[in-house]
Symmetry: C2
């Protein structure tokens, strides 16, 4: 049975998930607007799915740092758009070649490869469009910094770079350090950006703390993902299970073994939560999100 804390968090998360869905729905061009097929495929890929972990992290950091709501909405939306674009491109035949995403045909299966390519491209542009709306914050220079954070997190020293290392590492034996470097770019960079954008109005101490939190929880997220890939079945995951092992990709489980991978996730979780200690109740949602990320698997 869920306790009252869990019920409270669950209600908060659901409200935020509904909210970000509405924001995305508003921001994505209508299927009535030309080019209709592209817009339809963009909406197909960015709406109606996922736990919206990155948006939740952005909202939670915003609650800690009391960041302006209009900015937080745009930031959460931008981060989810970057994430959605990366999934669309990731699933393409020349990358992971995955037919299933969030329990539905992936974008290139539902539409076609060329459309999927353009969907990813246009979702990336849209993320920067959303975050460069005029007067999103009182401080335009802050907005420029946030755009810079998102751009760096997405590019070759962030998410795209992590993807490239991932591609090169297929069939190779990586050390734990190499694996962590790959994941800190591939998934960690965008998770860190989500938290930092949410923390825009935070104090220096708060920002140092959320950076530490984000680095740990970003890695924990990936360790849990690797465990899920081994332990869960395809219908629970909403994507093809056992995929990483099948494609001979190094994972935390393949390097550390299952038991030690779980222990490692637990350590990262503890470190993430410890970084929040000075902020007590204000950091409640970030703490609960750390729990949420861990509970995806065990």
């Amino acid at each position: 049975m869920m306790n009252s804390v869990a019920i409270d968090f669950s209600a908060w998360a659901q409200a935020k998930q509904r909210h970000i869905e509405e924001v995305l729905d508003t921001v994505l061009p209508s299927t009535q607007t030309s080019p209709q097929k592209l817009h339809s495929a963009m909406r197909y890929s960015a709406l109606g799915g996922g736990k919206r972990v990155r948006a939740l992290l952005c909202f939670a950091a915003s609650e800690l740092c009391q960041t302006e709501t209009s900015f937080t909405d745009a930031a959460a939306c931008a981060v989810e758009l970057i994430h959605a674009y990366s999934l669309v491109h990731d699933d393409m035949p020349c990358m992971d070649d995955d037919d299933l995403r969030r329990g539905k045909p992936s974008c290139h299966k539902q539409y076609d490869d060329a459309t999927a390519l353009l969907v990813g491209d246009a979702l990336q542009s849209l993320a920067f469009d959303v975050l460069s709306q005029p007067q999103l914050t009182k401080q335009a220079s802050q907005q420029v910094s946030m755009l810079s954070i998102l751009a760096k997190a997405s590019g070759s020293s962030g998410m795209a770079g992590g993807q490239a290392i991932d591609l090169e590492s297929v069939g190779k034996v990586l050390t734990q350090t190499e694996l962590e470097n790959m994941h800190s770019l591939k998934t960690g960079a965008l998770i860190q950006a989500a938290v930092l954008l949410g923390a825009m109005d935070g104090s220096e101490l708060e920002i140092i703390a959320v950076k530490k939190y984000a680095a740990c929880i970003g890695l924990a997220f990936q360790v849990v993902d690797d465990i899920l890939d081994v332990e869960a079945d395809t219908s629970t995951l909403g994507k093809t299970a056992g995929k990483d092992a099948d494609s001979n990709k190094p994972t935390y489980v393949s390097i550390l073994g299952l038991a030690q991978a779980k222990q490692h996730a637990q350590q990262l979780y503890s470190d993430a939560v410890a970084a929040l200690t000075p902020f007590g109740e204000k950091a409640k949602r970030l703490r609960e999100l750390a729990d949420f990320i861990m509970q995806r698997s065990f």
Copy 2:
């Protein structure tokens, strides 16, 4: 024999081409930095080629409007990075499937499809990274507006949208209006962005004029491209000639016929140059660039 005006322009253009090459070289990550293959492929795709028409338009508009040099450099660089990314994705097998670009193997031929996909993605991020550098201008709010212009020009209501319409129009008969709409997005949007970014510090009158200039010259550029596709050979073009006709794509030549297409380009050129009349000598480079764009073919 070239006259002194042409020599003067040619020297200016060459100096600017060298300059933007240097700026791009500085901005693109080193091939020594991990992930090395991705960075090598990004440099392969973005350096050492092309007439840099978009950068030249940006510099020329900057000369008219006396825009800050540091901002103009970043803007020209960002626009060239977006252009380079679009070429890499365009050439991929699921799009135009072109093996040749600027006289060299296209990115996916030189590397592989997955790398080309990531190269395009990362070049797009890098464009926004470059334009969101701190303190690029005295007015951060202006910088936010410029980021917004670049994002909109790149996305589904700009370049990516034009690509999507292009894909859908293969084998279809388009009206001239439909064709113009496609091209005003596919190539026009980024050309307009290049000019507007260069004109950042311009007066209201100057900005209205360069918008008109950019709209006309953007379309003229495409008409000339269509004419070149028919008239030039592959070695002159540095890309596969006759490609559009072969792939049954509607072009200005297929819709208007060669003679009328040339006449249409001439009219667009005249309209572009007419918009610059009030600014005399200050608009010299923009005027010369209009000539340059026209002289690519006849």
